[in-house]
């Protein structure tokens, strides 16, 4: 038994038993997806700093309104439903792209877009209502941290919606060429990551408010 055989488990050998040292670089779509995965993780690290700031400042209301007086659970549940369903339709979009099915891609992307817009509409309505009540980001450290955290997530969603429009234009004009497919799959990963961040937001900000 050679050293390579001893170090490499059978499951790590490819079909034609090429040693790992001779396999060459990974294909482009693997490298791109891995790089984008690293970006998403660093984006989540950015959110972790905002979460930490919120956790530290959530009690510093400076005599202003506290969380339970401002938050509407039903509203948050609808927002959560919108984002979760859009993550699901985005998954269907991934499958349509892999099947190179243009019509299914357009339909699933349109539903994803509509749900994303609905989410943003509910969030902006909530922000507007809070600012009108005099609970804007300048009222207390708690509200500054709240608007920074939830607003950054909302900005990500808005950016994602713009990206989705650009990607649909690219599918319409360029078709499913490898470059466009790679970008589409990166978009789908980005959208799923936003849903993961939202789990943290609704648990810590809205349900954890006391």
């Amino acid at each position: 038994m050679s050293l390579v055989d001893a170090l490499t488990e059978p499951t790590e050998r490819s079909r034609d038993d090429t040693p790992i040292s001779e396999r060459g670089p990974a294909p482009v779509h693997i490298v791109v997806a891995f790089g984008f995965w690293l970006f998403l993780l660093s984006d989540i690290v950015l959110f972790s700093a905002l979460f930490a700031a919120y956790a530290v400042l959530s009690g510093q209301t400076a005599g202003g309104p506290i969380g339970p007086q401002l938050f509407d659970r039903t509203n948050v549940l609808i927002e959560t439903g919108c984002l979760l369903l859009s993550s699901f339709t985005c998954g269907l979009c991934t499958l349509s792209i892999e099947a190179r099915n243009r019509l299914a891609t357009y339909i699933s992307a349109a539903v994803t877009f509509a749900l994303g817009v609905a989410f943003l509409a509910f969030e902006l309505t909530e922000f507007g209502r809070m600012v009108a009540q005099g609970a804007g980001p300048t009222r207390s450290a708690f509200l500054s941290a709240f608007f920074t955290l939830v607003g950054t997530h909302g900005l990500h969603v808005a950016f994602g919606l713009g990206w989705l429009i650009v990607m649909m234009a690219q599918v319409a004009t360029l078709g499913f060429r490898p470059m466009v497919v790679r970008r589409l799959l990166c978009f789908c990963l980005f959208w799923h990551a936003l849903d993961i961040v939202w789990i943290g937001v609704f648990t810590i900000v809205y349900l954890g408010a006391h």
């Binding site: 891995f34 993780l41 700093a49 700031a53 979760l84 799959l185 648990t203």
Partner: protein, 125 residues
């Protein structure tokens, strides 16, 4: 002809789920996520749960739902083709934990050791 795909065992995050199996994967993810979300909203003001335990329950439900998303939507596993993705994820979780719990620990320690405001005013006079 050997294409690059033939010689690589690496998998891309979110990729390689085709056909009916893929739809089932996303449907299962949606089902688990909905159940965990509703459980979180129920647990937040449940009267039948020991009250001091609710934050821990909420945290467990949230971490469970994040796990569901990673497995069913990102298709990250601990399998051999996913080693790079999985290690990156582990490092990401490590940094997130360091930032969040480190900040909370340091800030609560500073807060506990801070002079009361009236004493601070006295010293500045």
């Amino acid at each position: 002809m050997a294409t690059p795909e033939d010689t690589s065992q690496d998998k891309a995050p979110g990729g390689a789920q085709r056909g009916r199996n893929g739809v089932l994967m996303y449907l299962a993810g949606l089902f688990f996520a909905v159940v965990l979300t509703l459980a979180s909203f129920w647990a937040a003001d449940a009267q039948s749960v020991w009250q001091p335990g609710i934050p821990v329950l909420l945290a467990a439900l949230a971490i469970g739902q994040m796990g569901v998303h990673v497995v069913f939507f990102f298709h990250i596993s601990s399998g051999p083709g996913d080693t790079n993705n999985f290690l990156a994820l582990a490092f990401g979780i490590f940094v997130v934990g360091l930032v969040v719990f480190g900040s909370m620990l340091i800030m609560s320690n500073l807060n506990a050791n801070m002079l009361p405001m009236d004493r601070l005013m006295e010293m500045q006079r």
